[in-house]
Symmetry: C2
Subunit: 365 residues, 2 copies
Amino acid sequence: MSAARARVRRRISVDLGERSYQVSLGPGILPSLGRAVVRATGASHAVILTVPGVGRRYAAATGRSLREAGMKVHRLQVPDGDATKNLDQIAELYGELVRFGADRKSVLVALGGGMVGDLTGFLAATYLRGISFVQVPTTLLAMVDSSIGGKVGVNLPQGKNLVGAFHQPRAVWADTELLRSLPRRERSAGFAEVIKAAAIWDEKLFARLEREAQALMDLEPGPLISVIARACEIKAEVVRRDERESGLRMLLNFGHTVGHAVETLSGYASILHGEAVAMGMVYAARRSESLGLCPVGSAERLEALCERFELPTEVPDFDRRAYLDVLRVDKKIQSSRIQYIVLRGIGSAEARPLRAGEIMPGKRG
Amino acid sequence: MSAARARVRRRISVDLGERSYQVSLGPGILPSLGRAVVRATGASHAVILTVPGVGRRYAAATGRSLREAGMKVHRLQVPDGDATKNLDQIAELYGELVRFGADRKSVLVALGGGMVGDLTGFLAATYLRGISFVQVPTTLLAMVDSSIGGKVGVNLPQGKNLVGAFHQPRAVWADTELLRSLPRRERSAGFAEVIKAAAIWDEKLFARLEREAQALMDLEPGPLISVIARACEIKAEVVRRDERESGLRMLLNFGHTVGHAVETLSGYASILHGEAVAMGMVYAARRSESLGLCPVGSAERLEALCERFELPTEVPDFDRRAYLDVLRVDKKIQSSRIQYIVLRGIGSAEARPLRAGEIMPGKRG
């Protein structure tokens, strides 16, 4: 990755007034991260947070780029996996930041997938009452979804993402070359969030995914960058219109209500987030059909697309009561109703306040 | 305290756009808290957080008022003292909130002094990515200072308030009757922050404190409410002009840099926050004089006023190196300089970037 190749192919603006920032996207842009961080933050001290697998591959190049831009650089590493996203981990990391002398002008750099971004973002939101951070997503899922929009946080034993903040990054720097090292299963999981964006917002993107599934799974640069950029645009637009999830932004939870329940019940370990979302989306689409909310055939079309991207589409057969218990503790509960996202057709969705039992009816339901 | 007596004597607006709120002040207003909370938040579920001493006296009346306004009420109690303001405590409280079924429409009610407000506020800032909270300050210090402005957080083993957020309350509801039960030493500590507001901002208030010290220490309602209201106005004005402490708001740290160091070195236990602030203010005023920044005699005048309010004015004789170590980890460190607040005269202050060694020079300094 020479500096000469470091050309940004696409920029997407996330317009949030004084909290605005850009998503920069392209192959081989990691070496120019440092200058981008200095431009966006003015910081002279960076702390990289990553996981072992990603760190082994990219931490050296990331550190070099930051140092070449004139910054002092420290590095922190946490174990991989969603189980790391907890309060004990956060407490330990605060201590490390103090030890590094991190101050209000320091910047945290999240080098990794969604877990690293959520953890780093929450750390940045709360250390010294808030310092800046930059997202360097290394997974497809993080590039198209979790790195954008400022939702950061950690899990409690009682449920996912019950603690957190809205804290926007100062920049998102997505080097699409990094996706080449991603295991095939994680590629699929990333496309689940692209499918989600298309399903709730953009039928044309959905049709394009149907046409180009093979090329996309093979990471052909042309289609890949164009599709990632479109998913980022959708996310940016939704966040711009409803930063703190008081309405519209809830649509992005399509597939996530039941998906989260699957993750909780499986102990986060055996199922990737994107896989759980795929299961949740197909479940929600079928439910939308049976409630008469979307044209018959929508669920089948969504299921077929998920399968093209090698995603699972059936929720695991846990006890129904266990599902209901988890749904009820889900953070979107409002006076015993859950804002459940239903499909109104491919490319259109809406929030419906449903009881847990209406989302998961008994055999007769 | 009958409802008929529950008349608000003063309202001070904290103007922060969509985050604006009012400070309501008066004797016997606790019984009308419930209606005020409903008006400000629309919540139907409240969780009161308090400490044993305050809880014994006021939790029942607080709960009654909230229930009479139609809310479901839960109550949490934490041990008194600044040592409670830590991450383990927060983790435990999150679990309790989940157990109570607290959701995004619930409101937390901080019933107590500064520690309770900081802890409750941080909980509210981060639970479910942020829910609303209301301050019901029961100490003078909390009424005039810590309940206003949205600085919330917890301590780390390495230092005070190193973790936190800016999260504004939806209302501050200050019943001045509650001050009658306050030990004399805590009264004094509260007046330290009133003296601070006067010293940095308002020479007329300073002169009034000099004239009415005795009446104020005796809690005579007329002077007391008027002086508290003026201190609240100053705080509200400074916060309005610089919510996130990028400049002006730093002035409120007058006396706090060395004051925090005193608290840290004494283990938070034996010295009240207001007492530490008084020591830090007199120290800073003397330092300002010896740097030629304010008229000779200012420090003496400040010291005399602190003494009228029975406040200590000499910093404890810890090792100078210990002081310097603590100053350097203080969160206001920016590239090895500390934004130290110096006096330019009674009623006027400014931030100066000084090294720890310049704040606390050796014997020859």
